[in-house]
């Protein structure tokens, strides 16, 4: 069972109109205070997990490339001193093209970061403007090259399904992406999240969202082109060359253990034989105060029943091409037949699941209607 630590950095230079992550714009950030707070929460979590090795660390956000390298350094030091890192550790840091330069990248690398995840979002100027990004295509490309030069591994994120996006323009953009990428890319569909400025604009009719049928076609096209170029679509929105998978994200999808550090972070942990979910207070200032007062910013922990754990494992695991091992499901559910056999059979004969005695695995067709498949399996 792998163990990962997610560290949330809640600040950005500006807030993108589509984004509903726990990200805030602040004028003054007391990095020393954040260092102390991260350390305290890490220590609290250590008391829960006890000694074990850490396989991955992920600095997510927000925009973690805004962190002082010293802050990153401190966090990694604390982790190293408490648990220690496993031999093939992965430390990823999310970065924005606007907030990086080679000095800073090098500083991150020198304190242990060995993978960068860059928020590129688009390689078309107008679309970057629509997405409210504060960088242009050129900056994005430069940042990609820089990351590739400095870090052993890197990935970047692109959002498709943008208004008026056509198959041919996406095809051209994918060509550029394929040229630029090294090993890994995440291709997400634009979702118009409630409560975001984008949602408001959409509701007001300021722009027309791409119809679902078109988004579905782009999804198919993406899969075709990427796999034709030798990339495996190892998870619904992730593509990579063999061995380039995001090991940290695999921990989520394989439903292994992970700690969530920082405001709004989520965790799934084993402590004293119990499985708990942790969820921290989202507001950065309140989280800081809580940590300073109580040693952590968590809401009360919630214990999951074995059924709930089974459900979560299926929800996450079916996103993966490799699926989930049936043995794992049995042990999570603590029963010999965790899932309804008839239902599984029906999906197999419908060509939505592979007929695999070892694991539960969706076919290409099954993945396209994954939400319904998951609901059906878990019913």
């Amino acid at each position: 069972m792998s163990f990962g630590i997610y560290v949330h950095w809640p600040y950005c230079v500006s807030k993108c109109p589509y984004c509903d992550y726990n990200a805030h714009v602040a004028t003054h950030i007391d990095q020393a205070r954040w260092r102390r707070a991260y350390e305290r929460e890490l220590r609290t979590v250590y008391d829960l997990t006890g000694p074990r090795l850490v396989d991955t660390v992920f600095f997510g956000g927000g925009t973690p490339s805004l962190m002082d390298p010293e802050t990153v350094h401190h966090v990694l030091n604390v982790i190293q001193n408490l648990w220690g890192m496993s031999a093939v550790y992965e430390v990823t840091l999310e970065a924005n093209p606007t907030t990086v330069d080679s000095l800073k990248f090098k500083a991150f690398r020198d304190c242990g970061v060995n993978r960068i995840s860059l928020g590129v979002q688009s390689l078309i100027e107008q679309d970057l403007t629509f997405l409210g990004r504060n960088h242009d295509v050129d900056q994005a490309k430069k940042a990609i090259h820089l990351a590739q030069d400095i870090f052993p591994r890197m990935s970047f994120d692109v959002i498709y399904g943008r208004p008026a996006q056509t198959e041919s323009s996406w095809e051209r953009e994918l060509d550029i992406i394929l040229d630029l990428m090294a090993g890994h890319v995440s291709l997400y569909q634009l979702t118009i999240e409630e409560g975001t400025p984008l949602y408001l604009h959409h509701a007001r009719g300021d722009f027309t969202a791409l119809p679902n049928a078109d988004i579905d076609r782009l999804y198919d096209l993406t899969h075709e082109i990427m796999t034709a170029h030798g990339y495996s679509n190892y998870e619904v929105s992730s593509f990579c060359k063999p061995g380039e998978e995001s090991r940290h994200n695999l921990i989520y999808w394989r439903y292994h253990d992970y700690a969530g550090i920082g405001p709004g972070a989520h965790g799934r942990l084993q402590t004293h034989g119990k499985f708990i979910t942790t969820r921290a207070h989202r507001a950065p200032d309140i989280w800081l105060e809580r940590v300073e007062k109580d040693g952590h910013g968590y809401h009360p922990f919630i214990n999951l029943t074995s059924r709930e754990r089974l459900e979560e494992a299926v929800m996450m695991g079916l996103r993966l091409e490799e699926g989930i091992e049936l043995e794992r499901l049995k042990s999570l559910a603590q029963t010999q037949d965790p899932l309804n056999k008839e239902r599984i059979k029906a999906l197999i004969s419908e060509g939505l699941l592979h007929d695999d005695p070892q694991s539960l695995r969706v076919t290409k067709a099954g993945r396209k209607c994954l939400n319904a498949v998951i609901a059906w399996v878990l019913q």
């Binding site: 997610y6 997510g60 994120d157 995440s186 291709l187 997400y188 569909q189 979702t191 679902n212 049928a213 579905d216 999804y219 619904v236 929105s237 994200n249 989520y252 992970y258 969530g260 972070a265 989520h266 965790g267 799934r268 979910t277 969820r279 459900e311 979560e312 929800m315 996450m316 029906a346 999906l347 419908e350 939505l352 067709a365 993945r367 396209k368 209607c369 994954l370 939400n371 319904a372 498949v373 998951i374 609901a375 059906w376 878990l378 019913q379």
Partner: protein, 605 residues
């Protein structure tokens, strides 16, 4: 002079306010109450007598209400007015008939912008049957579209009532309300009860009040009803002691007694309204009146449907809720039944479609029940080859066709009033619904249509169609006529070859193709795409008459970055699960109950 003081019978006026739906009865009642000072201005709200939530929200009256008011007449004397506000909708005409039986007069309200409508006619005829003195009241004269002369003309032409001294008012602005009050005092007759005779009172209505218990609305005919008096309910033969006597002003006010000609309420330690019978005669236990009042015809349910709880564990709760509603609604009939598709539920009888809709809504709101109602249907008389007759309320109870000699269905007589530009389409509608034209006459530019129609075709969606064809201008009233033989068959709906009993219906053979096709098409739109292909069929006795195929769902995935926030994904699943709870499974197919409900409610075309 206060409302509780004794007023001689010659200065009592009992009257009901009757009209077509929405012509402004309740609003007029507000102005009468306000003008007589029954409530202070700050205590007033619109349609104050519509006190049920559902009445206030829908802006309609469901239950008749009584208020006592005092008014100083043109002669300077104080009069006691007992006002009854009645519902306008056809389903509740039973309430109107009870009110009319306890009054000497009626205000016939006609909306000056609409004129005489079908329900105006139905209600005024009832009033005339009860020998009531009628004051025509032309209402809403503040509206720009008001045409007082036309309304008067229609009252004369359509109803045949003298409208020369109709009172024109606005219930909204209060214009001419004092004139109306003076007209009530001078033109309506006083009651003529015998004060010395043994107590004789009409049980007009009863309901359950959580504070007072069962409250009985009475109209005293002869003698007096006193607190502490031992009374006998002649019909149920029960004897009780009156423990409270009072009136509504509209607030409850307790008195010592009610005299001849007066209206008010009593309580008599009764636990359930089933122990009371509307129309019963209340008399003194020792000095009994010789002749009981004629009473009321019992209300007959016209429309039936079954109600099932979405969550089958709520069956008992459903039973209790129905019992609670029936406490205050003698017209609600119900009995337990069980369905293969929907589990345990109740077959219920209603006065009409609105009544049905309102009961369903109250169950869901007041008792927090999630219900699946089946398609409304009527009662059929099934004559079997063995010479027996069976009443069938539920399509699934229909015996095998081979054992049926003949089936009879209820027919109604309908009156439709419509501006003549819609006449053509309405004739066509009635024709399509197997109608038989009885009469067609004109009043100005409005046509009055009389038709005989099978009730079965009405409960389907007739009223909605009528309203949409006429853009809301046609009005409609009906009453039960008689049972007649028809070529009726049971149509089943099959989803992936499994029959869905809740969707079975009895239809006329001539309508079955159209209905079957339409229902299948609708279901195809209503059932969300599934992971598997779904075949939807309509069949009569094993023969498929319509079929639609719903192709399988092949796109339902979101490529999104969830990170470690499984909770967020979970919410998605929970939402789906919550949805599933409201689904029924047919083989591989989950049909949301909303699809049943919509299919069952659906309109034609």
């Amino acid at each position: 002079m206060s409302l509780t003081e004794k007023i001689p019978q010659s200065r009592i006026r009992n009257f009901a306010i009757i009209a077509h739906i929405d012509h402004g009865k309740s609003t007029l009642a507000d102005r009468l109450i306000e003008t007589c000072g029954g409530l202070e201005k700050r205590e007033m709200k619109e349609q104050i007598l519509d006190n049920m939530d559902i009445e206030r929200e829908r802006g309609i009256t469901i239950k008749a209400q009584t208020v006592r008011l005092n008014w100083k007449g043109p002669d300077g004397e104080i009069y006691q007015l007992n006002l009854m506000d009645t519902p306008g909708h056809v389903d509740f005409s039973y309430e109107v008939s009870r009110s009319l039986a306890s009054c000497e007069g009626a205000l016939l309200v006609v909306d000056a912008s609409q004129g005489v409508e079908a329900q105006t006619l139905a209600n005024v005829y009832q009033a005339l049957d009860n020998n009531l003195e009628i004051i025509p009241v032309i209402n809403k004269i503040d509206l720009p579209a008001a045409d007082v002369d036309r309304a008067k003309q229609q009252i004369e032409d359509v109803i045949g009532l003298d409208a020369s001294n109709a009172v024109a008012v606005s219930g909204k602005t209060g214009l001419n309300i004092t004139d109306l009050l003076d007209a009530i005092v001078t033109r309506l007759p006083a009651p003529t009860g015998d004060p010395a005779a043994p107590t004789k009172a009409l049980l007009v209505d009863s309901w359950y009040d959580s504070y007072l218990g069962v409250v009985i609305l009475v109209r005293v005919i002869d003698g007096t009803l006193k607190k502490g008096q031992k009374v006998r309910f002649m019909n149920t033969a029960a004897t009780r002691e009156v423990d409270r006597v009072g009136i509504f002003t509209p607030k409850h006010i307790l008195l010592d007694q009610l005299g001849p000609g007066e209206m008010g309420f009593i309580t008599a330690g009764i636990k359930e309204i089933s122990e009371t019978k509307v129309g019963d005669t209340i008399t003194d236990e020792k000095h009994q009146t010789v002749k009981a009042l004629p009473g009321f015809k019992p209300s007959v349910p016209m429309v039936f449907c079954s109600l099932f709880p979405v969550d089958s564990s709520e069956f008992e709760k459903l039973r209790e809720s129905l019992a609670r509603l029936a406490l205050n609604d003698a017209s609600l009939h119900y009995e337990a039944e069980s369905s293969q598709a929907l589990g345990m539920g109740f077959r219920c009888g209603f006065l009409g479609l609105l009544h049905m809709e309102i009961i369903q809504e109250r169950m869901e709101r007041e008792f927090n029940l999630d219900l699946i109602p089946t398609a409304p249907s009527v009662v059929y008389k099934v004559y079997k080859t063995d010479g027996t007759m069976q009443e069938v309320y539920n399509p699934v109870d229909l015996p095998d066709m081979a054992r049926i000699e003949k089936i009879e269905e209820p027919w109604i007589k309908a009156t439709i009033l419509t501006p003549d530009e819609y006449l053509g389409s309405l004739l066509q509608l009635c024709q399509e619904r197997r109608g038989e034209q009885l009469n067609l006459s004109y009043v100005g530019n409005r046509a009055m249509l009389e038709y005989r129609l099978p009730l079965n075709e009405i409960v389907f969606d007739f009223y909605d169609r009528l309203k949409s064809i006429s853009r809301g201008y046609a009005s409609f009233d009906y009453h039960l006529d008689k049972f007649m033989e028809g070529d009726l068959v049971r149509m089943d709906i099959l989803v992936n070859q499994e029959s869905v009993d809740a969707l079975a219906m009895i239809v006329h053979r001539s309508q079955s193709d159209r209905r079957g096709r339409h229902l299948c098409e609708r279901l195809k739109d209503l059932i969300p795409r599934q992971l598997f292909k779904v075949a939807i069929q309509a069949a009569i006795g094993g023969k498929v008459i319509a079929r639609e195929d719903l192709s399988a769902l092949r796109k339902d995935v979101t490529a999104r970055c969830y990170g470690g926030d499984v909770t967020r994904k979970r919410k998605l699943l929970d939402k789906q699960k919550e949805g599933k709870k409201k689904m029924r499974q047919y083989g591989n197919v989950d049909i949301p109950q909303s699809a049943f409900i919509a299919a069952l409610k659906m309109g034609d075309e």
